[in-house]
Subunit: 262 residues, 4 copies
């Protein structure tokens, strides 16, 4: 189980969201409150959009709470759309390529969750990655495989592409009886639009909250401060669509699959 | 605050003490029970004696709980006297030379505690290190400085040398009013004899336990399992002397200083 | 291109082969003489057999030449059969799971070479790994994939299993015209017997030497010292078979494939 | 021996100087041409000035040539004044705090050189650091100690402060007969003005070049490309003064000391 934060809005220094808040992502790395893993010390990462056509990445295998580089970067990097992630590994090695976010072309992705029985399902999930994207498979996580599968499933329509892959994953975990568990709470962006998913099969979904203001939207695994009424919980099996220049929408997603499974 | 374990006895694989017990040092790295810091994820280290005239060291800046190398080494390294340590840093950087144990010649040392107001006292403590040992100052911790000071204070009599330095540290922290705090719970060995200290000034001492059997003695920050009656708590301001070929003794140490301070 | 060393013989401290010789593996890490890459600073690894049923591993992403842990371990670890490897990466990330040697059950493997056009051939090579071994695919290198494929190809007869996979790789690289290059200079062991391969397709093979004495056999990428007449070059397309209790044999391997290709 | 680059001028992405040139700092990390150490793989660092009142730092113990984070950061970080450094250690450990550049308040410093017989002179040099700056001594290098000593020697006049400390270092190395060697080729900045020193005692000074254009000035250990006539060599015992809004000056520095020593 991991913790993450995604921001889209006015260009701002990352420190205002990643390191400064009372219950910042950094403090969640050593003591998360709403996660089954209170310690998220198995590496971390930042992804952000700037002037370069492709997003930037800073990923490290050490815990976020003691990384001096991270503090310097959060002071100096400014962005209108960025991701931050602290990892609690669920079986795959602690390497930089296994840290979130993942980048491919202009896309960023990060994830909190797991595909139950990854050893059984790994080859099936990897087979969803098209050949032309397989060279971008530089790590071994379930999360990166799902990201590349989504990119290959018609990314011009990101929500549809993600739902298409989630449907396949739902089938995969339900191949056995009782089915394996699937938890998918993730963020996806092209540098302009931001999408966040909260979905689960045979299990409860991991928490997801957002807060919107004139400055922008922040989507998080758990609130960054104690002002709980300012944070809105995203319901299970919903997707947050924060397109540039549009009002944020919270849409149901894959409800029928969920109902069919019940 | 850190957690550590020291063993002297029959030659054994390190895994039996470091990785296997229910509440092993590894499990203490992610969830300690008797420490002010429940997470000890700021690096770790092993020190052990074998056939080579000098002890071996394996130290890493990553958390112990996810280090594959550590698991392999604990399976394969066998020793009659070894140290293991997981670190919760108190201000100095997370670097290998700042991880415990420290080695110098045939001596090993590790520590759980701190010298209050290290910024004020650092130069005084470093001045206790003799010139000929100053090249061995490869890190920046208070712990390493104290170790080298003890080595230079007549190490032929280790308890006396340690007490001599602890007296000076006691004076240093009491230079201000109210005095700074000092906590010193440490282990010291020459590969033959094992010493463990539990001492504090202007504060409570960190916990220290030991368990003795026909096979040997284990000294720990907190018990390795739930069989609490098998673990004996070392009183504050006492030293454990486990000399090769002798019965283990628990001796009062520096009581008068403590009384004078009260 | 990497550099490696394999030893089978009397139990000895690793330092006598890894760190002490004039042109030791450590000195090859910063300045190799017979390699297309003079710097082999993209991580390193040790693998060794001891009392535990499975071999030990120590792998790190930092260069070997500056790793203090490696020097301590080479002093203290003793083994009758061990591998050492310094890496010059050919495209896959610098992570511990991508460092050699690789271990699976009682087997160790390390490699110097590459599969030309890995992006094109990766899925074909990974498909050679049987399902039951696919969970052991913890990295992303061509080398690890080949190792697991060999383990799945009838490892009771290691040379035959390796040749079976090398035949398939030969077919894969020859699917295009002109064919891709393949270089395979590797070592494989079960803790008792030691095998070393020198093979190439559409290219020259990487160098391989051995030296045998009453104490044992050392097989290396390049000689460890200037006493060049004591080192015997293994011819291209040959395999070294150093079975426990038998005379070392240097056998031709896959000659017909090579001839057919010419 | 290390390699470094310093830039002051129009705000630009770091990649144009650090990663892109034919003989960029990254390529110097694996194959420097004018250094006694051709491999500079003992860590690296970036320091840069931006909107935050204090400069940013990114330092890592791995070699620069394989660090993905470095490539992303050089694409995305833009600055009007930045430092880049690749390290070849001369005895002190490979840790982040021992990597250059060093930061203290608004000042950045990096160094290529050494203080001969550091073990003998270390305490004398560290004693030059004023008490109020000693908490900023987070590593163990000679370079960081000299930096903090300069900061404490009247940094309102940076050249005078540096010369004052260099005079003391000159005395220190000349305490023995024959004298120890001192090489000091370094850069210093407050975010506005840039200073670079080329000095040596009892030895040749390390190389130093600069190139100036309408866009700004680049000062380097060795040229970044083969257009050698565009690079001007700084003479030994000279200082480059590149103050904001002024013409760059190359001034003689400490000539009398040098003459006295000859």
């Amino acid at each position: 189980m991991c913790r993450w934060i995604a921001y889209r809005g006015e260009t701002t220094a990352l420190e205002h969201y990643v390191t400064e808040p009372a219950h910042s992502l950094i403090s969640q790395s050593i003591h998360a409150l709403e996660s089954t893993a209170s310690v998220n010390g198995d590496g971390f990462g930042l992804g952000w959009y700037g002037n370069h056509p492709e997003p930037g990445l800073y990923r490290e295998v050490r815990p976020a709470w003691s990384d001096e580089n991270l503090r310097y970067l959060c002071r100096h990097l400014q962005s209108h759309l960025f991701f931050g992630h602290v990892r609690a590994a669920t079986g795959t090695p602690i390497t930089r390529p296994n840290c979130h976010p993942f980048a491919c072309g202009k896309w960023l992705f990060m994830h909190n969750g797991f595909v139950g029985n990854w050893n059984r399902l790994r080859r099936q999930v990897e087979a969803l990655i098209p050949d032309e994207l397989y060279p971008s498979r530089v790590g071994t996580t379930d999360s990166e495989a799902i990201f590349l599968a989504i990119l290959g499933a018609g990314i011009a329509h990101p929500v549809t592409a993600a739902e298409r892959i989630l449907l396949k994953l739902t089938d995969f975990v339900n191949q056995t009886n009782p089915g394996d568990r699937l938890r998918f709470t993730s963020a996806l962006s092209n540098g302009r639009d931001l999408y966040a998913f909260r979905y689960a099969v045979n299990d409860h979904a991991n928490t997801l909250y957002y807060r919107e203001s004139a400055d922008g939207i922040v989507i998080v695994s758990e609130p960054l401060d104690n002002d709980h009424k300012s944070w809105i919980a995203v319901p299970e099996n919903h997707v947050v669509v924060a397109n540039a220049g549009e009002r944020t929408r919270i849409l149901p997603s894959l409800h029928r699959q969920q109902e069919a499974a019940e």
